[in-house]
């Protein structure tokens, strides 16, 4: 084994006052985000699936509702909010589960990495993938599939991005309760499907049984879909839209905080 003597640079490093762990450090957070993106880059198939599947679904939907463009407008706009949530949920829950099972999470938490660095790093990395994904899907829907939106396309993108953030947060959180990839994947029907059924995609929430309507009132995806529908129908930013956006963003932050609480430096 070749052995090199320690260099002057290291001696310098050694003498340096050590940087202590803070909850959030910009350099460590961006390093983490860059690392997550670098991992993705070695996996082009995953990138292709993340970016293209939502587009294919929209094309499919467009021709399923070939004779009723109004229905396509409604469902298409809702789906533009739901796709990023589901994709980011799946990708984040598997990625963090792998981080836990491979021992890299334990290693990182034994290093001066703040929990916030890791969580915000993941959110930044997958958030930027979500921007690309949403831009592609929104552009395709608006310009090629004839999705008729009254409001601004930028507002659609904003909601889509917040939904992606919410998906990342939920994925991070549930990965703490999954012992294997099998379990992590099963959390998707458990956490996402009920919201999908109750969010107003299939029928207006006001038409549901009062109990279900009450449940849908406390589920974040309902507000994601509401927000999309506001943009669909109104030219300007409505008070309801602002409320929806704030609720989705608040839920994302809350769940990210819960996710941070599941990261323990000391484990049994």
């Amino acid at each position: 084994m070749s052995t090199t003597p320690p260099t002057a640079a290291q001696a310098h490093h050694h003498a340096q006052p050590h940087t202590h762990t803070r909850a959030l450090s910009a350099a460590r957070t961006t390093a983490t985000a860059a690392r997550v993106l670098r991992q993705l880059r070695h996996d082009p198939r995953t990138i292709a699936l993340m970016l293209l599947v939502p587009c294919l679904m929209l094309v499919l939907l467009r021709y399923v509702f070939d004779s009723s463009p109004r229905t396509f407008d409604n469902i298409g706009a809702s789906l533009l909010g739901i796709f990023p949530l589901i994709t980011m949920f799946l990708v984040t829950s598997i990625a963090t589960l792998r981080e836990r099972t491979s021992g890299t999470l334990e290693r990182l938490l034994a290093m001066p990495l703040g929990k916030g660095d890791l969580i915000v790093g993941y959110a930044l990395a997958f958030g930027s993938v979500a921007i690309v994904q949403s831009a592609l899907a929104t552009g395709l829907a608006l310009w090629f599939l004839g999705l008729d939106v009254t409001g601004s396309a930028w507002l659609l993108l904003l909601v889509a991005l917040l939904d992606a953030l919410l998906g990342t947060a939920l994925g991070l959180f549930v990965s703490a309760f999954a012992a294997s990839e099998f379990q992590a994947v099963q959390f998707m029907p458990a956490v996402i499907f009920p919201q999908l059924l109750l969010c107003g995609l299939f029928t207006a929430r006001s038409n549901m049984h009062p109990v279900l309507e009450a449940i849908s009132d406390v589920m974040p995806m309902s507000y994601a879909v509401d927000g999309m529908n506001e943009v669909l129908r109104h030219t300007d930013v409505t008070a309801t839209f602002v409320r929806d956006v704030l609720i989705v963003a608040g839920c994302a932050l809350l769940v990210l905080g819960l996710g941070a609480a599941t990261l323990r430096r000391r484990t049994v």
Binding site: T3, H42, L108
Partner: protein, 266 residues
């Protein structure tokens, strides 16, 4: 097997690790039972014992990743797990903890950025990463994905991560398991080189007794207790055995006999 010099190149100036009444509970089991020991600075201390005797738990306690630790455990003058120790202690888990979907250099670049962050440190980081890769003899694999390396090579990437930033204490959990004899010899030479030239303290666990002869000091463990804390030479002399393995077996027999005597006296 080569015998180590037995004498430290750096005289012990205080202990790197000092434990008293160290107890760890995992679920219903008490894994470590009131241990007391010291790991001298600048030396290689071997932690030996059969699988399941509590070696990994002890190492996790030293690194500060083990929950439910009671008693006293000081590492480099601070309580184990203290935030200031996170850059001063390098830790290698039994199974390699690296990202399989990153190259060797990308793995090290990331961990280096966590240990020594900021753009100003990028030159220093690059040197540090290059040196760590050279230390573990993977210079020819810098741009290979960790997932495409052999098990032994991935283990060495994991070791290289722990060498980043020149830590004062290296805690290595079974670093030579599954390696061929040539690589094992090379790694032990590296450990001795690091201890001798950098003054680093090494705590190395193994369940292969012949590796004990390469350590300056030994902690022999069995069922959550420490049977002996001595140099290999002193152990052999004390027990009249030719090898550390024979000495260990002798001590186990003694402990079992003492346990029986205690029981029958009751």
């Amino acid at each position: 097997m080569n015998k180590s010099s037995g004498v430290s190149p750096h005289p012990a100036s205080g202990d790197a690790v000092r434990a008293s009444d160290l107890t760890v509970v995992r679920g219903p089991r008490t894994v470590l039972r009131g241990l007391g020991f010291a790991v001298p600075r600048g030396q290689i201390t071997g932690l030996l014992g059969p699988s399941g005797c509590g070696k990994s738990t002890l190492m996790r306690a030293v690194v500060g990743t083990q929950a439910k630790v009671s008693g006293t455990l000081d590492v480099l003058g601070r309580p184990a797990g203290h935030p200031t120790l996170r850059t001063r202690v390098g830790y290698v888990t039994q199974s390699p903890s690296v990202y399989d979907d990153l190259t060797v250099r990308q793995n090290l670049d990331y961990f280096a950025a966590i240990l020594d962050p900021g753009r100003a440190a990028s030159g220093r980081r690059r040197d540090d990463v290059t040196r760590a890769i050279a230390d573990v003899d993977l210079t020819g694999y810098t741009d290979t994905l960790a997932g495409n390396l052999s098990g032994g090579q991935r283990g060495r990437v994991s070791l290289a991560v722990a060498l980043l930033g020149a830590p004062e204490l290296l805690v290595l959990d079974e670093p030579t398991v599954g390696l061929d004899p040539v690589l094992r010899r090379d790694l032990w030479n590296l450990f001795h080189h690091i201890a001798a030239t950098r003054g680093t303290t090494l705590l190395v666990s193994s369940h292969v007794m012949d590796e004990a002869e390469r350590c300056h000091r030994l902690l022999l463990m069995r069922e959550g207790e420490i049977l002996a804390d001595d140099t290999p030479d002193a152990l052999r002399t004390r027990t009249g055995a030719d090898t550390v393995e024979a000495a260990f077996l002798h001590l186990v027999d003694e402990a079992v006999a003492a346990g029986r005597a205690k029981e029958s006296a009751r």
